[in-house]
């Protein structure tokens, strides 16, 4: 081809790009995310297939960095495999299955009650229901241990043992049963969030049409409502399941005494031993499982072409009357919510006020660990939480980190949503959507480990971020991008292209369009995405623990430190502080957004 022709085509494409800001954003995001998301994946694969320093114990003559199938053999086909891989895998899958089944059921039921029926106190219950999700997931496990500890562990008596005089059996106190229960009591809130959003969009008229044809209540539920909820239900199941596979804290606390090991605990143990080879092979298995579940889910949903909400008049959301059941159900839900929220928080409060462990008498209570100046004889002289400079600095850092991450993530999610929706159907759009979701499948621990390596050295103009605050923000943004990109896409789908087109015809440039039109219209979706990022960032530990430094200590790091130093009062107090702050911010944001006229926080 003639070169003037090629040059002309190139010029045409560049000019064309100028008119298509969504394409520019799309490409830039794709490249950046490719690096930030696929880079770690490639490194994980590479390290899994090469000899690591740890392996020299087995292969004294080996060369670090050379290609080797050693890790694969070790994990899948050695005498160690049942202990290292198969049994933990089965345990993880079993836990995942049951927690998902129970948690999604409870969450869906609650969502249905609060969205579709005339149950009372909806506002209050709705606000309280999501609190379990705001707590670090292992708080529920700590509460369980305080309640049901038996003499296998020994030491001070658990509540049940000391007040009822009966030692709970091992299977109640530790292992599979309590892990499933405590995780379900945490993750149901997640399912609730997902399902309540979906339920709010089910058109009552579809159910009414069934009623008029003579279908009874259960048949309508089975034939009409549930199938319409399938996409949301599928998402809820898959997302919850994947999260549980990577959960570390609770199985570690409750499984260890009876040697119940899960995938996550094995990965963590390997990383702790600096056995990266094993850890990354296991991480890859998790990633493959996650990807296959997502793929299966999209196949099942994709086959049904018809879950497009038919727009047009007549959307009706009618509440189902509960009649006689109204008060009992309200009470039951209230009781449930209170126990999942109040019990752990009360236990935390109690633990933070106890001078000597195990003494449940009232005169053993003290406020020293909250407002004491610090007594050298107690807890290494650490000052009380509210007066402690270290803690207050960490608090400030946590807030800074969570807020910055939420803001960046919100904007990034919106941009990604913009590029994906405006370019809908193109390969760029699909690729971007996929990559934006990819970080979800990485176990946080593995991502943190990889980022150390990736950012230890400068990359082009970007300086080495390792040890800086910036890398904490970066990794938090990347890990939470799946949520905000989903809300961003959902928000953009609601905005008709004509809104923007009319502005373009009026001569309004791209930045002004985004700021004046797109952002305000998508505000409620944006806010809910940012809030979710904020909450997750505040209670995140495993993602950032490898990247923390004393200058950048955050609250969860402080809690970790106190637990390691066995200072239970301080760790409980700071945990309580963390939870209260998250709740406070949540409430504030909701109030402000309602005041500003943003319609109630919708869920993706």
């Amino acid at each position: 081809m003639t070169s003037p022709g090629a040059a002309r085509r190139l010029r045409y494409h560049t000019v064309r790009l100028r008119n298509r800001p969504d394409l520019v954003i799309g490409y830039v995001c794709l490249v950046a995310l490719g690096f930030l998301v696929l880079g770690p994946l490639v490194e994980i694969v590479r390290d899994a297939l090469t000899l690591q320093p740890y392996d020299l114990a087995y292969h004294p003559d080996g060369v670090v960095g050379s290609f080797s199938l050693f890790h694969l053999e070790r994990v899948f086909a050695s005498p160690l495999s049942p202990a290292l891989f198969f049994r933990p895998l089965l345990n993880s899958l079993a836990v995942g299955f049951w927690v998902t089944a129970i948690g999604v059921s409870i969450g869906s039921l609650l969502a249905w009650l609060l969205v579709r029926t005339d149950i009372r106190c909806k506002g209050l219950l709705g606000a309280l229901i999501v609190i379990p999700y705001m707590m670090p997931s292992w708080v529920m496990a700590l509460a369980w241990i305080s309640l049901f500890k038996n003499d296998r562990i020994g030491g001070t008596q658990g509540f049940v043992a000391s007040f009822l005089g009966v030692q709970p059996p091992d299977w109640v106190s530790y292992g599979f049963f309590p892990i499933v229960v405590t995780l379900a009591l945490h993750y149901f809130a997640y399912a609730y969030l997902l399902m309540s959003g979906a339920l709010a969009t089910v058109d009552s008229e579809l159910e009414e049409a069934g009623a008029v044809c003579g279908m009874g209540r259960w048949k309508r539920l089975w034939r009409i409502t549930l199938p319409l909820l399938m996409p949301a239900l599928g998402s809820a199941i898959v997302l919850t399941f994947i999260r549980i596979l990577g959960t570390f804290g609770t199985p570690a606390l409750l499984g260890l005494p009876v040697r119940f090991f899960t995938f996550a605990t094995q990965i963590y143990a390997s990383i702790n031993a600096r056995n990266n080879g094993d850890a990354f092979v296991l991480a890859l298995v998790l990633i493959v499982i996650a990807i296959s579940f997502i793929w299966i889910n999209s196949r099942i949903i994709g086959i049904r072409k018809s879950f497009v909400t038919l727009t047009g008049k007549g959307f009706r959301r009618r509440e189902i009357r509960l009649g006689l059941w109204r008060l009992p159900l309200t009470a039951a839900v209230g009781l449930f919510v209170a126990s999942t929220v109040l019990v752990p928080l009360s236990i935390l409060l109690w633990e933070s006020l106890i001078l000597v462990a195990g003494d449940y008498s009232l005169d053993n209570l003290t406020t020293h660990f909250w407002i004491g100046q610090g007594n050298v004889r107690l807890a290494y002289g650490e000052a009380g939480v509210l007066l402690n400079n270290g803690i207050l600095t960490a608090l400030w850092n946590s807030l800074k980190l969570a807020t910055l991450a939420a803001l960046f993530n919100g904007v990034l999610g919106l941009l990604v949503g913009y590029a994906v929706v405006r370019g809908r159907g193109t390969r760029l759009s699909r690729g971007l959507e996929g990559i934006a979701f990819a970080p979800y499948i990485f176990p946080s621990i593995a991502l943190g480990a990889i980022y150390i390596g990736m950012f230890s050295a400068p990359i082009g103009p970007i300086p080495a971020l390792y040890g800086t605050f910036a890398i904490l923000v970066l990794i938090t943004v990347v890990k939470n991008l799946p949520f905000t990109s989903r809300t961003g896409i959902a928000a953009m789908l609601q905005i008709d292209t004509s809104m923007e087109e009319s502005a373009r015809v009026l001569g309004i440039g791209w930045f002004r369009r985004m700021a004046r039109i797109i952002m305000p219209l998508s505000m409620s979706g944006l806010v809910s995405g940012m809030l979710l990022t904020f909450i997750t960032a505040m209670r995140e530990l495993s993602l950032i623990v490898l990247l923390l430094s004393p200058a950048n200590m955050v609250l969860t790091g402080v809690i970790f430190y106190y637990q390691e130093q066995s200072m239970p009062q301080h760790s409980s107090a700071v945990t309580l502080l963390l939870v209260l702050i998250i709740i406070l911010v949540n409430v504030l944001v909701r109030l402000v957004s309602r005041g500003a006229g943003v319609s109630g926080l919708k869920n993706s």
């Binding site: 160690l80 296998r152 080495a464």
Partner: protein, 416 residues
């Protein structure tokens, strides 16, 4: 397959191959790089260490450098910040408290990436420290000259030990008031103690793992102890290489209870008022909880073959440290003042007043069961038993070469 799909597959494949092909060739870091050589010369370390040190000049240069950055596995190091500033005004101490695994990880990764941030690296984990860091030239041994005569050679070669700690076995004095429940370690593997022995998870606690490794390291002595206890030779299970591993296997078979937190473990063994409290493999320093938490723990001080398993925490100067002289000063600080000797009177609280001036960097660690490498420091009150208890020390070589196998062994037998 459509054309575009084929195209994507080809690109993906090419990218993958390119990545895998670009695998780094491992450098044998025995060879010292020219920058390190220059740095060693300027800092007067390693091969360039002078015959006699000019301590005052070092302190003066340290004041000019103005700061010292420490990567430490222990959180208590941060307590020294204010005190160090009082003793050496002008030198700012910054401590990165990372835990033993991450201290090693961070040091190695940073230096690999060409970042030389740390001055002092202080951590346990013998195998990695000696083989992956010292032998690879990532850290250099430094003992201030004035201390050399006060520290026995085994505590400063090949690398300076900052503190020695140990794992011991606790029992509940109240439950066994007359005599300790066991005199030979193999009793813990017998039915009487089924489910009544606790250990800190060796997979997550490096020190607990080292304790276990030390037992396995001395397989012959363990076999001998067994013979003394039962009267006949030990029979090894299938696939078990020696008596040391056999002990581990039997301990697990005897339903040893695994704890995540050391303090919960000693609470389990030491809480008064229990009927059948556990025996605990835990850190010797936790005896101080008897006073603070009201526990009634006691050591099995007279145990066959040994009663304590010692693991060191090292301290060294990092390769190409930006403030090498401040690092030297801090190392001396960590070892305690030169005024400290056997007859020094030390009173609680050790982190204040005269005791602090004497103990300096030792003060936060002056606990029973936590012992200075120096031979002229009195044993902490309550920790006098250290001298009387027979013990073994972990070997860095063993950790490096056998450690992974012991891990696997534990994993295999713990999961049954």
């Amino acid at each position: 397959m459509t054309r575009s799909a084929r195209y994507w597959r080809a690109t993906a494949g090419a990218l993958a191959l390119a990545w895998l092909a670009a695998l780094p060739v491992a450098a044998t870091a025995q060879e010292v790089s020219p920058e390190t050589e220059a740095w060693l010369k300027a800092a007067e370390l390693g091969a360039h260490a002078p015959a006699t040190e000019g301590w005052d000049a070092i302190v003066a240069k340290a004041q000019e450098e103005g700061e010292v950055v420490v990567y430490s596995s222990s959180g208590r190091m941060a307590m020294l910040v204010d005190a160090f500033a009082r003793t050496y005004p002008g030198i700012v101490l910054t401590v990165f408290d990372l835990g033993s695994v991450k201290t090693v990880e961070k040091t190695i990764r940073e230096q690999q990436a060409g970042i030389f941030n740390a001055d002092v690296v202080s951590t346990g984990n013998s195998g990695a420290v000696i083989h992956e860091m010292l032998n690879q030239g990532l850290i250099f041994n430094y003992v201030p000259e004035a201390y050399k005569s006060r520290i026995p050679e085994e505590n400063r070669e090949p690398l300076l030990i900052r503190i020695n700690e140990a794992i011991v076995i606790y029992y509940n004095k109240e439950a066994y008031p007359d005599a300790p429940p066991a005199t030979n370690i193999w009793e813990l593997t017998e039915p009487e103690f089924n489910g009544r022995v606790g250990i800190i998870d060796p997979m997550s606690s490096g020190s607990s793992f080292m304790g276990l490794a030390t037992i396995v390291q001395h397989a012959d002595e363990m076999a001998a102890a067994y013979k003394r206890h039962t009267g006949h030779d030990i029979e090894l299970g299938e696939g078990v290489p020696d008596a040391g591993y056999e002990f581990v296997a039997r301990l697990l078979q005897n339903d040893v209870v695994i704890f995540k937190s050391g303090s919960s473990l000693v609470e389990a063994s030491g809480q008064p008022g229990q009927e059948k409290p556990l025996l605990a493999f835990a850190y010797m320093t936790y005896i101080s909880k008897n006073e603070s938490d009201g526990f009634v723990n006691a050591y099995l001080a007279d145990l066959d073959p040994v009663a304590k398993w010692v693991y060191p925490t090292f301290t060294a100067i990092a390769n190409r440290a930006p403030h090498p002289n401040a690092a030297k000063v801090f190392t001396a600080y960590l070892l305690g003042s030169l005024e400290l000797n056997e007859s020094s009177v030390l009173e609680k609280p050790f982190t204040e007043g005269r005791s602090m001036e004497l103990l300096q960097g030792l003060a936060p660690y002056y606990d029973p069961g936590s012992v200075s490498p120096r031979n002229d420091v009195p044993l902490p009150p309550g920790g006098e038993a250290w001298g009387e208890m027979k013990g073994w020390t972990v070997s860095a070589d063993f950790m490096q070469s056998e450690g992974p196998r012991l891990r696997d062994f534990w994993l295999l037998h713990a999961s049954q």
